[in-house]
């Protein structure tokens, strides 16, 4: 076992240097994505709570909802589903791995997480973007 050096101390600089220097492997990518999606979701939770202060006033609430109904936001809602689905499925993977599978199985389980994330995002996201992006296309094609 080699001795720990200053470069092993956890810090933002060492974190970035390590991430950049490593060849991506499923376990590491899973960890990094879980962290990034988690940080994003905390930020979103705060913004969401601030936005819902409008629940006290019907006009303010309808304005708030209308703002989130712009096409760009509908696409963001689609991506939000993907972010939540990944964080949820990968979280379940972490729990299962702690309890049953142990390490060494993270590769197939991570691919399963990605597959489930894409499936849920496509199936649920279809309904989100349908009126904005899919119905106009169908109309345009004359269907």
């Amino acid at each position: 076992m080699r001795l720990l050096t200053r470069n092993d101390i956890p810090s933002l600089k060492n974190f970035i240097a390590t991430v950049v220097s490593m060849t991506p492997k499923p376990g590491m990518v899973a960890w990094l994505l879980h962290r990034l999606t988690g940080l994003f979701l905390v930020l979103y939770l705060v913004l969401h709570t601030l936005g819902l202060r409008s629940m006290g006033d019907p006009v303010a609430f309808e304005k708030y909802v209308t703002m989130y109904r712009q096409p760009l936001f509908k696409f963001a809602e689609f991506l939000l589903l993907g972010v939540v689905a990944y964080h949820a499925f990968n979280g379940i993977r972490i729990i299962l791995q702690d309890m049953f599978f142990r390490s060494g199985t993270e590769r197939p389980l991570f691919y399963l997480v990605l597959l489930l994330t894409v499936m849920i995002t496509v199936v649920g996201g279809y309904h989100i973007i349908y009126p904005y992006f899919i119905a106009p296309l169908l109309l345009w094609w004359g269907l």
């Binding site: 720990l4 202060r53 006290g56 109904r69 939540v84």
Partner: protein, 159 residues
């Protein structure tokens, strides 16, 4: 690395670890329900036809609503679009069971999110002062989100 001073006992950190798992499992269930209710085309949202009726009723009752429509800040629904509306949300939250479910979702999300945020910050903060400040910040954010969220949920439907 093993010599780093920890702000909390082993028992407290183990409780935080377990709590993150429990709230995580709870959130999967609550968020699946939340997503079904607020983002999927179900009766919990207004159809384009229902939304047109809601808009005209509101416009007849409130001049500010008329102005908001004129300014484009409140818009018609597209064909096949399902819209979250004040009316539908108020109806749902008139049921105390739904209020309870939404408060649970809020509290679980705030606990899980702020504990996760503290865990992430703790990975990059070395001095015990910085770690304590991070913990204090996470607690304050948790309280702010929870209090504001509970006020919003409880005031729903109360004009």
């Amino acid at each position: 690395m093993g010599t780093r001073k920890q702000s909390f006992s082993v028992r407290a950190r183990a409780a935080g670890w377990l709590w993150q798992r429990l709230t995580g499992v709870g959130l999967v269930l609550f968020l699946a329900l939340h997503f079904w209710v607020q983002h999927m085309p179900t009766g919990f949202l207004a159809t384009a036809e229902e939304y047109a009726v809601i808009m005209s009723e509101f416009a007849a009752a409130d001049q500010r609503y008329v102005e908001a429509i004129a300014e484009g800040k409140i818009r018609d629904a597209l064909p096949a679009e399902h819209v979250i509306t004040y009316d539908k949300v108020s109806q749902r939250l008139a049921n105390p069971l739904w209020k309870g479910i939404d408060v649970m979702l809020l509290v679980f999300a705030a606990l899980h999110g702020m504990n996760g945020l503290y865990n992430v910050m703790g990975d990059y903060l070395r001095s015990s002062g910085a770690r304590k400040a991070a913990f204090g910040g996470a607690v304050l954010l948790f309280l702010a989100v929870t209090v504001q969220g509970v006020v919003s949920i409880m005031s729903a439907g109360v004009r």
